[in-house]
Symmetry: C2
Subunit: 247 residues, 2 copies
């Protein structure tokens, strides 16, 4: 079963498009340690596991704790029930031989179902991630931060912004063989989401796009793609502060 | 002392611009293990430490071994003499709060002097790396792989390729405060290097640009910037196959 089939199945089973981010920000932990990061994620998983379509652990917050952090990441992944697909949020990407090692880390060592990657290196740098049809690859397209205007939104001579070009080249060329890519589109920008959907009407495996809930675009996600899974990337903020957690 | 001061000092002391990549590719190891990856790097360091301006360990090849790989990376870093500056080749980059964690990993946990990052997220995503004037930040500009044509070489309406825009915005805006960024420019593309140098004559701390040796551009690096340190990114291939190592 491919990642997107697993995601579709799970979304159907729980009737939910919610993806919960596992982002153990230092500021939110009981103490500044890898163990606290693991416990933070463990609790979040325990309280949301019946409701979520997917989990998205963010490698950075574990990596900051070095060896112990990496161990905490592996324990966190092991705490996620097998039927729930995992998006490793790692934003990796390099030349081919190095991306081979990153793909091996994400898919073999950490056994994640999918991973986020950066398109800046080009198609050959992403092939090591894309070559396994059973795994999903989320390509950064238009992110939610203000700085997404700096590079991603640059206009090309065709009149379209760079992020639309990235969406097209990713879905229609790089990931064409296995249709196993999704696009990361920050849902703070409804217009970007609309333009991308117009440019790539059948993006990668029938269209999972990433967007954040609690934003104007979440409604748009739900309404515009009734027959296709649209994953909602819900950052843990808000969720993790509920007691008990009640998303 | 800032990273670029440390690099300049070291380059002067050993009269060398050579940066040795520590890339323990699985195919080159005696066995497929984190321990073998460490031993591979340890030997390379032992045999080249009197000759190099810098070392560039590549996070991917350690990360592929999970927790043990991360431990091998930390042991490798500890085996590098203190006076030799380190470029952590990690190609990280995310939105601000996540980049904070990646910067903490590279600079505090791993204690590296500098790190490679991707510009796709924009300036705000790189500020957590750039805010410490004592550290260096190598921003991907024009890489050496064929896929660098896909995104990096796209022409903008001004007529210049995207990578020149990245060079300008990085050096003249994002890293303006501390002038602590360098540009990663694959030395397989002499023309790109020439154009970038024309566009940013005084890039970031007087101009360290990254290029590979054993390429047409390495001569160009040496000849065109006599008064400025230009780091030569020598991949370990070739070096690591010498017995004894004799770069």
């Amino acid at each position: 079963m491919s990642f997107f089939e697993k995601l579709t199945q799970r979304a159907h089973d729980v009737n939910s498009l919610l993806c919960v981010g596992l982002d153990p920000h230092k500021a939110e932990l009981e103490e500044d340690s890898a163990e606290a990061a693991f416990k933070f994620c463990q609790r979040l998983i325990e309280e949301t596991k019946d409701l979520v379509a997917a989990y998205k652990p963010n490698a950075a917050f574990f990596e900051a704790y070095g060896v112990e952090g990496w161990a905490a990441l592996q324990r966190t992944l092991a705490a996620i029930p097998e039927e729930i697909p995992i998006v490793l949020d790692a934003k990796r990407g390099d030349i081919g031989s190095t991306s081979e090692a990153y793909a091996s880390s994400a898919f073999q060592t950490l056994k994640c179902d999918s991973v986020t990657v950066s398109p800046y290196l080009g198609g050959d740098g992403l092939q090591p991630f894309l070559k396994d049809p059973s795994r999903g690859v989320w390509v950064l397209c238009k992110t939610s931060n203000p700085g997404s205007q700096d590079i991603q939104a640059l206009q090309l001579p065709s009149g379209e912004p760079l992020y639309v070009h990235v969406a097209k080249v990713c879905c229609l060329q790089w990931a064409k063989e296995h249709s196993n890519a999704g696009l990361v589109v920050g849902a703070t920008d409804v217009e970007a989401m609309r333009v991308i959907r117009e440019a790539v009407p059948e993006p990668c495996h029938g269209g999972p796009s990433a967007c954040e809930s609690n934003s104007p675009a979440s409604q748009h996600c739900h309404s515009s793609r009734k027959n296709r899974p649209t994953i909602i990337l819900e950052h843990h903020t808000g969720l993790s502060k509920q007691e008990p957690c009640n998303p």
